[in-house]
């Protein structure tokens, strides 16, 4: 993945980490968070822009030039906020690739079929635990 324009909403641990990954692969990045102190989580090599504003307000996404974005990643700590921002990005601004992080997957039906990629951290962690457990079961203890 090279030279893409990526907007990340929510500069928490996950958002900052995603930003770090994308910085390495020479993309243009914009990070949006309503709390400016959150930007301290960004790594030193982060070279993108930061916008301190609430992305639920339409002006914020326009300021971030959402119409030119190739990718939007919604990683705020609120599921419903992520769902709303992702839908606005995908269905109103037609961003080609929209991804959102979610804790509770039970609301997934409302944006099914819209082409939004969902990463449910709860399910991912549960699977990882399951795998770790089953691999341990195979080990015979001395």
């Amino acid at each position: 993945m090279k030279d893409k324009y990526i907007i990340i909403v929510g500069c928490g641990r996950l958002g900052a980490h995603v930003a770090k990954m994308f910085t390495r692969s020479r993309n243009s990045l914009v990070m949006i968070d309503k709390d400016a102190t959150a930007f301290s989580r960004l790594s030193e090599e982060y070279s993108g822009f930061t916008i301190e504003a609430d992305a639920v307000e339409q002006d914020t996404l326009l300021r971030a030039k959402i119409d030119q974005a190739d990718v939007l990643v919604a990683t705020t700590d609120d599921d419903n906020t992520n769902i709303m921002i992702a839908q606005v990005a995908r269905e109103i601004h037609h961003v080609p690739e929209v991804m959102l992080r979610i804790y509770d997957p039970s609301r997934a039906k409302i944006y099914e079929g819209t082409g939004i990629t969902t990463i449910c951290t709860t399910l991912l962690a549960a699977e990882a635990f399951g795998q770790a457990l089953s691999s341990q079961e195979g080990v015979t203890l001395p």
Binding site: V56, E57, Q58, N80, E91, I92, D104, I110
Partner: protein, 221 residues
């Protein structure tokens, strides 16, 4: 009717009062336990404490039997999710969302919410209209403010007095629906002459309101 309200602000309290007095069955869902206790004390309604954006909670509350849902929380994303869940997943026939940020009204509509109400927008419109249009005696927005219906009384020095409707040349996006003259009500044609004391019932698009007034008075306000 079986009505669900999610979110327990001031509006919920007063809305609940009015809905119950009209004989509707009410289910109120609110996260804060103190507000829930108050709602349960004040109203003959089923009050459920919890996050109304969670499908299992809506299911347990009997959402499939709901006829009308009102999403009234203070968070716009929550109101959007509630309306989308209930209409897309549970087939609730009518849903209404409150938007706190007026700019989100259009967004909600584009994302499939049937009826979207912005209290801020309604109050702002009303204040603006009252502020510079105190000449209008009666003004009612129709269809969420898409059309305005207003009543204006003609005064001696108004520009259009003595003109026919055609001569007065009102803006294209407006129409005089009726002229009230004394006890008489006239549906005017192009040749109807306007007189002092006539009360004009005008239908127009809100953005042409000031132009209509300018046409009548010959000045703005």
């Amino acid at each position: 009717m079986n009505i669900f309200m999610v979110g327990g602000g001031h509006q919920t309290h007063f809305l609940a009062k009015s809905m119950i007095s009209k004989g509707h069955d009410l289910t109120l869902i609110e996260e804060n336990s103190e507000i829930c206790a108050r709602l349960a004390r004040d109203h003959q309604a089923l009050v459920i404490q919890g996050d109304g954006t969670r499908p299992y909670l809506l299911q347990d509350a009997g959402i499939t039997r709901c006829d009308l849902l009102l999403a009234l929380t203070s968070k716009d994303p929550d109101n959007l999710v509630i309306c989308q869940l209930t209409s897309k997943v549970y087939g609730v026939p009518k849903s209404l969302a409150l938007v706190n940020d007026p700019a989100n009204r259009l967004t909600f509509q584009k994302l499939g919410v049937q009826t979207v109400v912005s209290t801020v927008e309604m109050i702002t419109d009303l204040i603006e209209q009252r502020l510079f249009l105190d000449d209008i005696s009666n003004l009612s927005p129709i269809e969420e403010g898409k059309v305005s219906l207003m009543e204006i009384e003609l005064k001696v020095d108004d520009r259009v007095v003595g003109n026919t409707v055609q001569e007065a040349s009102f803006p294209a996006q407006s129409n005089i629906g009726c002229v009230l003259r004394g006890q008489e009500a006239i549906i005017p044609g192009g040749a109807t002459r306007l007189e002092v004391g006539d009360r004009l019932i005008i239908i127009c698009l809100p953005k042409y309101q000031s132009e209509v007034l300018k046409t009548i008075r010959g000045r703005l306000t």
